[in-house]
Each structure stands twice: as C-alpha cells, then as structure tokens.
C-alpha cells in the first residue's frame, strides 16, 4: 500500500486494514466486522434481502436489540401501540429466522444499541462497526471505525458484509488542559460543535486527541464520539490507551486468554503516528470550557451557562440570522435572556449520549438529598441498559433519584426521540442529556435544551438552569 511509507493517522490505519478492493475513482469496498441492528431501520433491509432471494453473509457479526420503540414503564404488559409492537415483533421474527443474536425486551442485557455494544465488548478496537443509526460514531471511542448507515446500506452489509464508500478527510480535534469542576465530556462535545458548527465535520472523520481527551474515561469518550455526528462527522475516534484496554477486559464478547494478549498487542498500535498529517485541525483549551446549554434548534446554537441567549440582530450572515430568529420563536425565548433565568418543565436524563453508569452517578451526586423543583412536572432517569440499571440499583442511585422526586425507568431511547410514550407536550421546555434539539425531536412542539447529566440534575432541582460548576 502506498501509505506504508509515511506516517499514518488512526483513521488511515483503520481504513487501510479494511479495504477489500478499490475502484479507479477511489470508491472502495470496505469490510465490516460488527453490525449492530435495531428495530427501526432494519425491517426494510431484511425484507429486501428476502425479496432478492439473498443469503445473510455472516450472522455472527450481528448483534440486535430493540431500543427506539420500547416502553420505559410496565414492560410486563408488552408494547401498547400496535404499530410499535409490530416493528419490534418484526425484528424478533427476522432475528429468529436468520439465527441472529438478539437481546429481547425481557433480557437484562437489553438497552440502547450504542450502550450495549461496548458494554458487551461487542465493540473492539480496530473493528469497523456499523449500524442503521447515526450515533454509531459512539463506538469510535474504542479506536474503531464506526459510522451510521441508511437502510439500503444495512441490507448491503447483511448481504455482502461490505460497504461501498469513499475515504473521508481526516480532522483532528485537540483539547489540551484540565477540565474544570462540573465540566464534562458533553460540554466538550457541545463546545466543539459551537466552534466548528453542525456542518464543520461534514466529509471528515474526527480524531479527538490531547491531554483532556486522554484524561476522559471510556464513558466520557463515548459521549464525545457520540456527538461527532452532530458536528457533521460520520465517525469520531480516540486512540487506544490503558483506559481502553482496562474497560474491555473480561467483557462477554471480548477475547480471552492467549487471544486477548494477541489482540492487546495489536490494539496498542491503533494510534496516529508521530507527524501524521490531518486535512484539518481544531484546538480547544480545556480550561476555558464551561458547562454548556443549547438555546436553539440545532446543537451549534449553544452558549456557556453563564451566558445569554444571543441577539439575532448581531448576526451578520443572513441565513444564520434567519435561523436564529426562527429558533428563538420556536423556543419562545427573548434575545439576551440570561441562560440561568430559563425555567424548565421537564428533565430527561438518558439517551446513548448520557445514560451510562458514570452519567447516572454524576446526576445522582447533584440530586442527593434535594428535591425536584415545584415547577418541574416530570424529571425522569432512563438508564442506557438493563445492566446499567442493575448496577445503579446496587449502588443505591435509584433510591437517591426517587427520593429527590425523579422517575426511575426501564432502559431504552425514550424521550431522546419520543417514539414511545415518553414525550414533551407542545410548548413544554426540557433540560435533556440527549443529543438533538431539533424542532419536535422530543415531541411535537416540544423545546429541548441539551446539557450534561450534572446540568440536567441541577436544573431539575432549581427549576431553571444553574451553573453546576459553582454548586
């Protein structure tokens, strides 16, 4: 390969090790190691496979779970909505027919697809990981090349174990320094998006690097890579280090014994070489990042908690000004309102961005011994998986939340996208640890402010946003 002679980025290494063949225009056939499947984007793919009379290429590459539609209360009664139920039953039937491993709704291992992959060790360094879901970028935290695909591509992977694609450009986002108290990976992610915009990473794979990233736990890195797609990048990634290896040791799908040692030796090479060239680079100073709150209907519409809602009159670009005006109207916010003056109606702690055990611990540490404010109609905690829920209960976090007036739910996507019964009513304002504040995302007419778990818990207690770095 022509790249062997020069210093390679982590992305180069992951890409080069998966090229099956390449067309003259650079379109490559890329081999896929791990295929995660959920109920919303797979039924048409399995149907397509069947209609064309094609076989499944490699069933042991697939791990399936229902997460988007599942209820977070009263699981024993099944799914009430017949259309949602049919979608989940269709997944069950497809997995049974093709012999695919599936964690069913009653399985303690069930959860959000991007939480359970790493939790099971089904996501490993050096893999290509795909899923019919844009937040597949999450798995890049393990130095995997992980990205979301559409349903036609899901079918393509089912049938061929490969994807046709062109190599992206490489971007490096370097965050140096120590994060302040109460400042989390979520705030880093939002600060990056605020800086480069939601299209800033389009056409790129982002590698996150620097001392602040190395200091993050694997869960923090997952939060960060999860949000790479909100910066427009299909893939985000972090190099392998001891944190990566320690996290994976002993997980059910991870190798063991001699194979483990062999794998670790290879995984340790999954870093960008000294002097590797990136097409773009962005630097952030970790010490300058404060807790972030989005004010608009795109994740790039974000400010620090001690800031104010911007004034569209101060925006020179007409397309951006128009977008800001539209967003303020939708969000029912006046220009220049201090963020800490914004009152909320609901709180959602969950989603593939922030529903892991460390997220729940962080939120619980703020909620402990306090109570949800009177103006907050509902504050809910939705663990990312059954195993996260179990762990949290062993640590007594559920009791802290319940005593503070939060609801403690069953795992799933829940109010991140409100495909089940958990949703905002029109006009309701929510402090949410999820990843998208688009119009209607959490329910038609609902208003979403994206924050970290600490900030969401702080807002639940105060009834409005507060700077948790000062609490």
């Amino acid at each position: 390969m022509q790249n062997n002679m020069r210093a390679q980025t982590l992305y180069d290494k992951l890409w080069n090790s998966h090229v099956v063949r390449q067309e003259a225009d650079g379109t490559a056939l890329i081999y896929i190691d791990r295929h995660l499947v959920h109920e919303v984007t797979s039924p048409q793919a399995f149907e397509g496979l069947k209609l064309a009379g094609r076989k499944l290429w490699r069933k042991d590459s697939i791990l399936a779970v229902a997460d988007h539609n599942v209820p977070t209360t009263g699981r024993a009664q099944g799914i009430a909505d017949p259309i949602s139920r049919l979608q989940v039953e269709t997944l069950d039937a497809n997995c049974a027919e093709y012999g695919v491993t599936e964690f069913k709704m009653s399985d303690v291992r069930q959860g959000i697809v991007h939480v359970i992959g790493p939790e099971q060790g089904a996501t490993l360094p050096g893999m290509t990981v795909v899923c019919g879901d844009s937040h597949t970028s999450t798995h890049g935290a393990f130095a995997a090349l992980a990205f979301g695909i559409g349903t036609s591509e899901v079918e393509h992977v089912l049938a061929t174990q490969c994807l046709l694609m062109k190599k992206s450009k490489a971007m490096q986002v370097v965050v140096e320094g120590t994060l302040g108290r109460g400042v989390t990976a979520k705030d880093v992610a939002l600060a990056v998006i605020g800086k480069i915009g939601t299209a800033g990473g389009t056409g790129h794979a982002i590698e996150f690097a620097g001392s602040a990233i190395r200091a993050l736990s694997m869960e923090g890195r997952m939060t960060l890579c999860n949000m790479a797609i909100e910066a427009g990048a299909r893939a985000g990634m972090v190099a392998v280090d001891d944190n990566t290896i320690d996290y994976l040791r002993g997980r059910p799908f991870a190798p063991q014994g001699a194979l483990w040692d062999k794998a670790v030796a290879y995984w340790r090479t999954l870093q960008s070489d000294e002097g590797a060239q990136f097409d773009n680079a962005v630097m952030l100073d970790a010490t300058q990042i404060k807790p972030q709150v989005t004010w608009g209907t795109s994740p790039e519409m974000v400010v620090a908690v001690d800031g104010r809602v911007p004034d569209p009159d101060g925006i020179s670009d007409p397309v951006k000004r128009d977008a800001a005006m539209r967003a303020l109207k939708y969000m029912d916010l006046a220009a220049k309102t201090p963020i800490e003056k914004i009152k909320i109606d609901k709180v959602f702690i969950g989603s593939c961005t922030n529903s892991r055990i460390e997220d729940l611990r962080a939120a619980a540490s703020i909620a402990r011994g306090k109570h949800v404010a009177a103006n907050v109609k509902l504050a809910m905690v939705v663990p990312g998986s059954g195993l996260v829920k179990q762990q949290a209960e062993e640590e007594g976090l559920d009791k802290i939340f319940i005593a503070a007036g939060f609801e403690w739910r069953e795992p799933g996507c829940s109010m991140c996208l409100a495909m089940n019964d958990d949703k905002l009513e029109p006009g309701e304002r929510c402090a949410s640890t999820s990843n998208r504040n688009f119009e209607g995302r959490q329910g038609s007419g609902g208003r979403t402010h994206l924050v970290s778990p600490e900030m969401a818990a702080g807002a639940a207690i105060a009834g409005h946003f507060v700077d948790v770095s000062k609490v």
Partner: protein
C-alpha cells in the same frame, strides 16, 4: 432502483439552513416496516396545521397555507432547492423515501449531511452541490418567476436555467454510473464474492479474535 438520466422539472425553494431528517419525516412515521407511502408525511410538522400520526387520512388534514410546498405554484415540483447542511441528523432512509415518494428527483443545495447524501443515491434521487452564490441566484430566480424550471443532464453533469445559464456540477463516477443505469449496488458487490472471501480469510488469520 429508478434510473436517473435527464430531468426537466419544476423547482420549489425551501429557504432554511440545517433542515434535519426529523423535519423531513418525523419519528412517528418511522414505525412503518415498509419502504413506501411516506410522501404524504414529508415535512409533516411544517406542512399541516394539526399533529400527524400514522394511519390518519392526510387528505382531510388542514394544510399550512404558508408552507412553501403547499403553494399552488410549486405543485408538482420535482426539484427541491435548499440551503446548507440539508439532511443533517438521523440516518433514517425514510427521509429520501419520503422525498422520492412526494415526487422529488433532485435536491440542490450548497452542502448536504454525509449519510443523507449517500442515502439519496440508493433511491434514485440525485443530490447536487452548487456553490452558495449559485444557490442564492437560483433562490432569487425561482421566487421571481412562477413556473420556474431547471433542466438537469446527469450524463453531461449540467443544470440549465431558463435563460440558458449552465451550471456544471460534480458527481462521483461510480455513483453516476449506478444512477444512469439504475444499478443495484448489492448485485455489483456480489460480483466480487471471491475477493471478499479472500479478504475475510486473511483478516481472520491476522485478527483471530474477530
């Protein structure tokens, strides 16, 4: 997949940036296990005044008269003119399915989100990137001239405006080949079965834990 070779179509302008796939087709419609029938719910929250749910008779729902696609002059549009970062957000292929089912064959914008861009080609939809300035020009022309049409020649990679102005656009040769011929790329990939098998054997030997 439908072929795409040449299109002479009416243009509808959607003048906002960062149009996300949640807006293109809201989540309640993703519960369908079919690939078709999403057109009536394209841009559902903007297009109708009430809240849409699957199973409603969309022909009886109150339309939002201010939404551009509801204006009579844009009825039957096949070309959507849009702003930057069109199709951002979720990977749902239901977005191109809805656009295609509604009748669009082409989307012109200064930039597209990656996954959406990719998904279009799998469904006979042609997403075209022009410069911001070119898109600005087209927006003013469309708004000024009812019945404004563009001619799109994929073979030549040229868009022609009514006044004869030609806009050259880029498209990757492989994707162009597939669109022009309506090729199913799974079929193409399966022509390389032996190469995939050989790769797989080598890959497993190198990383036996996979």
């Amino acid at each position: 997949m439908n072929k795409f070779t040449f299109l002479d179509g009416l243009v509808a302008p959607l003048d906002r940036a960062n149009v996300d796939t949640d807006a293109i087709i809201p989540k309640q419609f993703l519960k369908s296990i079919k690939r078709s029938g999403f057109g009536p719910n394209l841009f559902d929250e903007w297009r109708y005044l009430d809240h849409g749910e699957p199973g409603m008779d969309n022909s009886k729902r109150p339309l939002n008269p201010d939404f551009v696609l509801n204006k009579p002059r844009y009825r039957g549009a096949q070309i959507l003119l849009a702003r930057e970062n069109f199709g951002c957000g979720s990977s749902r292929e239901h977005a191109p399915w809805a656009l295609e089912d509604f009748g669009f064959r082409t989307i012109i914008a200064p930039s597209f989100a990656d996954i959406f861009f990719n998904n279009c080609f799998k469904n006979g939809l042609l997403p075209i990137r022009l410069t911001e300035r070119q898109v600005d020009t087209l927006f003013s022309e469309v708004e000024a001239a009812p019945g404004y049409r563009l001619r799109i020649d994929l073979e030549q990679q040229i868009i022609t405006a009514p006044d004869g102005t030609a806009y050259k656009f880029d498209v990757e040769p492989f994707r162009k080949h597939c669109l022009l011929n309506g090729l199913d790329d799974i079929g193409l990939t399966l022509q390389h079965v032996s190469e995939i098998r050989a790769y797989e054997a080598k890959h497993r030997a190198e990383q036996p834990w996979l």
